[in-house]
Structures are given as C-alpha cells and as structure tokens.
Amino acid sequence: MGWRLIRIYTILVYLFMFLPIAVVVLLSFNANQFGSFPMTGLSTRWFEVLWNNDAIMRAFRTSIVLGLMTAAISTVLGVLASLALVRYRIPGRNLITTLLIAPILVPEVVLAVSLLLFLNFLNFGKSFTLLLAGHVIFTLPFVILVVQARLVSIKRDVEEAALSLGASPRQTFFAITLPLLMPAVAAGGLFAFTISFDDITGTLFWKPGGIETVPTQIFSMLRNSISPEINALGTVMIVLTVGLPLIGAAIARKLATRSGL
C-alpha cells in the first residue's frame, strides 16, 4: 500500500516539474494570435516571427559567443586545477577546494555587485570583458566539481605503465592522460556553456547597454506581456539546452568506448 502511494506521489512531483514546460512547447505551436488558450490550431508562424526578429537573433549570437568563450576559459582553468587536486598530495587541499568552490557559495547578486564595483574602480566599466570574467568565475566551480568527479575514476596505473615503458611525462600526458580525460573535459565545457547560456542575474548587472543575451532579451520582452514569440523562443532554448548535452553525452560515451579503458 505504502509503495503505491509513494509511486503516485512521485508521478505527481514529476508532473509538477514538467507540465508547465510542456505547456510552453504546446503553446509555441498555437495558431491563436494571442498565443493563449483556447488553441485554435497548430502553426509554426511564431517560429517564423522569431527567425525574423533581429533583436533575438543578435541576442542568440551574443549568448553563443559568450558561452563558447566562457566554456573554453573555464574548462582550461578547471581541468588544470582538478588535476592538481586529484593527482597530488598538497597541503591545505580542503581550504583550496573551498576557495575554488566559493563562487557558488556566494549569492550571485553579491558576486555580481562586487565584481562590477571592483572592476569599475579599476576603470573597467560594464563591457563584454566584464561579462566574460563574471561568467568564467561562476562557471568555474561547476567545471571543477564535474571534472574532479570524473578524474577520480581514471586509474594512475595506466600512466605509470607508460612512464615505466620509457615514455616521457609530456608524451604520457598527451598519449594517455589527455585522451582518458576527454570525457571529463567535454562534460566540464558543456556544463560551463549551458550555465553561461542560461545566466541572467549576473548578466543583468554586468552587461553594457545595447548588449543582450537570450535570457536578458526574454526578460525585457516579459516586461510587456507574454507573447507566443516567447513561447517559441522557449521551445528553441529547450531543444538547444536539452539536445546539446544529450549529444555531448553520446559523443563522450563514444570517445570513452573507443579508447577502450
């Protein structure tokens, strides 16, 4: 009896999480010109409207460039730091870990304010660079957590075998460690990209006037009212942010099986 109740409860919890999102997708295909219920038919007109909206397309380009740059920088910093934390015995390891994870322990508003004010004091006002610096700093902890978790599962034996067979440390890194690390690198980069792509709070503080990312663009559109265009944009975002990691996971799995370890 108890188990059945828990099952029904769980189904309701999942419905609670997914029903509103399903409604966004459903309404984005709504033919009704106000984009609300009752639906009068199916149509892709809102996606066409979206495609022809210059502001949104510009926001998309900004978000993608910002996300890619954030992912590149964060992943390099994060992978190097994770290697040090997992592979070496270093004094003060806990303190260093806490320090590196600190950006997610500090509320994002506080992080945003302090970075904005400090860089402004150094005559470095709101700019794309500030935006990038901000995105790097708060995606870094996530990259480190993800990469560390994967690194722990790679055995040192393989590297030691290569070294004992006469490979130089550099050869060992590029021939053994890096290929084994690739799934972790890919996962970290993907995570950083998605978090950057999705961020709004920090971005609102850091972005210079005239630059919008997709979330801030949606935010300013929501000020007026919810239009079917926003639902269509939401659907595109869902497809992108859910589809990308799934493709990424598939590639990571393929890489992992090909290396055979």
Binding site: I21, V24, Y88, T97, P107, E108, V110, I137, I226
Partner: protein, 288 residues
Amino acid sequence: MSIEQREARQPWILLTPALTAVTLLLIVPLMFIVVYSFWLKSAVGADTPGFFLDNWQEALTDRFYRDILLNTLKISAITTIACAALGYPAAYFIARSKGNKVVLLVLLMLPFWISYIIRTMSWINILGVSGALNSALMWIGIINQPIQMLYNETTVILGLVHFLLPFMVLNIFVSLDGIDTNLEDAASSLGATRWQGFLQVTLPLSLPGLAAGGLLCFVLSAGTYITPVILGGPRDAMFANLVYEAIIGQLDWPLGSALSLLLLMVLGVLVLIYNRYLGMAQLAKGLG
C-alpha cells in the same frame, strides 16, 4: 632542481590560473566592497572615500530593509520546507525503484538544462488570466470570469519550488542511494515495521543529504532576483531586488555594497553552521 622539488611545484603551477582568477575576480572584489560600503555617495561625480557608517546604519535600522530581509528569509524557509516535503518521497522512490532508475534520474536532471527564465515564465501560461487553469475552470463552468492568480507571494514561492526542487531531490537521492538496504532488512527481521525501520534507520542516515539540499534551496532562494520580478507583485520584492535597485536603479554603490554584504553575512552564518556540522564534502557530492 631535483625531481622531487619539481614534482612538488607541479600542482601549484596547475592551480595558479584558477586560484588567480578566484582571487582577482571574487576575493579581492569582496574585500573591496567591504571598504566601499563605508564610503559615501555624493550627489555629483565620484563617491567620497572615507569611513562613514551611514550606509550600514541605513541598511541595519531602516524598517523597509529589515522587513524585506525578514520576508526574504521567510519565503526561503517556506520554499525549503516545501521542497523537502515534495522531494523526499520522490527521492526515496527513485533510490528504491528497481527498473527505471536511470530514466527517472535523467528526467530529474533535465530541468537543470532548461533555462531558468523559461521555467519561471512557464507559470504565466498556467496561472495567467488567459492561462491553462483559468481556461479549464471557465470551460468546466466553475467560473465565468478569469481570476488573477499570479503576482503574489504564493506564486513567487511556487516558482522557487519549481526551480529548486531538482537540487533537493538529487541531494536526498545521493544519500539514500548510499544506504545499505540490508540495514532496513535487518531492522525488519528484528521486528520493526517498515515504517519504524524507515523512521529509525533510513531517515536518520539520509539527513546529511536532506541538509545539503536544504542549504542549497535556502541560499539559492534567498539570493534570487528574477522570480519575484516575474511572478511577484509590486509588494513582493525580495532582498536581491533591493540590491539591484540600489546599484542599477539609484546608482548608490556604497549603500548597495552594504546591502550586498548584509545578505552575504546572513547566508554566510548559515553556511558556516552547516560546514561546522556536516562539512562541504556532502555538498560537493550532490553537485558533482
């Protein structure tokens, strides 16, 4: 240099870029706004450096700020409790189910990848005047006129719960999944009912996960800026909205610094208490 010395230096070379970034972009800026919070905003031009207590006095004694701070903590507490109540049974179901565990977990992770602002605004489609619920109620004939269900404290909490629930479920799941099921069997073979076994064995062992999820939910909702703007009314501002208003709206950066630090200190105390009793490792487990 000997090999040992090089070996000992290597991790620090690897750590330098990340540590430099965190120091320059987080630690130093935080120290900077501590200094800045004692400066004074001047009507024209640059703020006046110095040691003035005005901003702190305003942040700590103004009733307006205090009420919003207390309200923010109240909303965060309700959100956290609601997440625990909704999340615990679901996490238990996932941890103890046999066949479809992976599917359930992947589904649970999906919302992390779906844009926060999209998830928040999706409630307008449900509860808005021309939303799903009003349309359904009118279609059934319970109401003739659509009712405004949005833009109040309840919808803010609803939006926060919807946003934070996956964090809670995931953390509880991680600790439930680590419990040896033999313990429950042992309890029942010693004569405990399933419910007793749960209360006295499983629940206490899963408390670290519950605490980690609770901390995340509380801290994330207390720092939230977007949800009250989208789903709340004019009187449902939370503390982060005050900070935004001071910094971006009023351009009163010294006061904004003091308000940010106040929020940081209140939440910092919570994190410290948590760290004292449970340690950061549990938190890392649920995030990784």
